[in-house]
Point group: C2
Chain length 272, copies 2
Amino acid sequence: MKNSEYRKKMADSWFSYLQTQICKEFEVIEKGKKKFVKRNWYKKKEGGGTSFLLSNGSIFEKVGVNKSTVTGTFRKEFRSKILGANKNGRYWASGVSVVAHMKNPKIPAIHFNTRFIVTSKEWFGGGIDVTPSFEDKKEKIFTHKILKKICVQNKKNYIKYKKWCDKYFFLPHRNETRGIGGIFFDYEQNNWNKDFKFVRDLGSAFIQITKSIIKKKRKLKWKKKDKEKQLIKRGRYVEFNLLYDRGTKFGLNTGGNTESILMSLPPLAKWK
Amino acid sequence: MKNSEYRKKMADSWFSYLQTQICKEFEVIEKGKKKFVKRNWYKKKEGGGTSFLLSNGSIFEKVGVNKSTVTGTFRKEFRSKILGANKNGRYWASGVSVVAHMKNPKIPAIHFNTRFIVTSKEWFGGGIDVTPSFEDKKEKIFTHKILKKICVQNKKNYIKYKKWCDKYFFLPHRNETRGIGGIFFDYEQNNWNKDFKFVRDLGSAFIQITKSIIKKKRKLKWKKKDKEKQLIKRGRYVEFNLLYDRGTKFGLNTGGNTESILMSLPPLAKWK
């Protein structure tokens, strides 16, 4: 097996493993009373994916855990925008993405994604970010502390990734950030083994952060007007994902599975 | 006054008149128990608009009636996409747009827009289209019959505009039409007086169609599962407007008023 094939295999199987782990941990949060529903999809002869969806839980109003591994050829007009795709447009991509929309409006929505992309170049990308409907300074500090720790342990530039996240998850038409940020990175191609370890650590950090945030807030009382506020915030989430998100555009532009790509959209959203 | 200035003035004042008329008629539908809330906005030194919003009515769950008249200069990368904007990118635009989201899921959402654009060219554009959550052949036939009549009376190509509408209001990622269509036209620049009359007739037709559709269905009973179906359909509406709608992109790209542009979004939408 060529080194490149070996790296693809490693990344692909790690993402599958992580997906299983996330689903298992989230079912524990639901005390086993709600289970994920699995759905496979195929991109004819070019891979496919598996999506897990849990709806109407006591904690998760809707959470999708997607993993896909696909190949293909970028359309010509798209190639100049993708690192290493100028030559022939061929790509291989594998990744996990999770968006959790919570029933309790006091618990923030949490998004996580890691991916490994191969064109004539190879790189990792990903991130974690948190979108509360109610400000909570402690929660923000806690989240960023963990993310900083993971970055420092892996000799990654936390400040750079934090800024990148703030810049990326921004709605210019609202002049608002999507949430309280987190980290976001792309084109990570220094040292494959080290980068891959960072990506694995980030997967574990996502589970840790999510469990911790939920644990602290699962018993918090909320009122109808709190839910209203969350539904309005979710409207902004929809706006961001459909107007700006590169992952959504990438997916819809490369013949990905619409149901899985749009699993990030909230179960319910409101506009005044 | 130059002819061009005269035409701008005429279009602008007609759109204001039409906006007032629509709001008045819709308040009658609400039996005067709900009123529109007015909001003015300004695009510094480049015009502005007035939006009227009625929420939580007995018929209209949310209806926005927007009118704006703005000027500006298209950014360079945008100019090649706009008729007559290649030279210096200057534009003047005035129009009315209405999106009505109904409380009763048996009554379709209705969208209407007419506009007059001036660059180095001048043209009208617009359309009416209907988005039901439940199929109703009679309603579809009725709507298209009226639209065809208006087109024929004004010597406009109904078949062309109907097809344009079907093509425009299509969600490729879902392989679905947004609704049952209607008519859609742009770059109408044959004979200003005749085109303007067509646009005025279309405004009146919109009021007639809306009143008639509502009258036939306002008393229809509906259940929670019918509302669910409507909320899912509205999710598609959001997807279309944020992913594809040119008017939304035009507005957000030219420094329009976000609240008014996104007034088309439904009050509540759902994703499975």
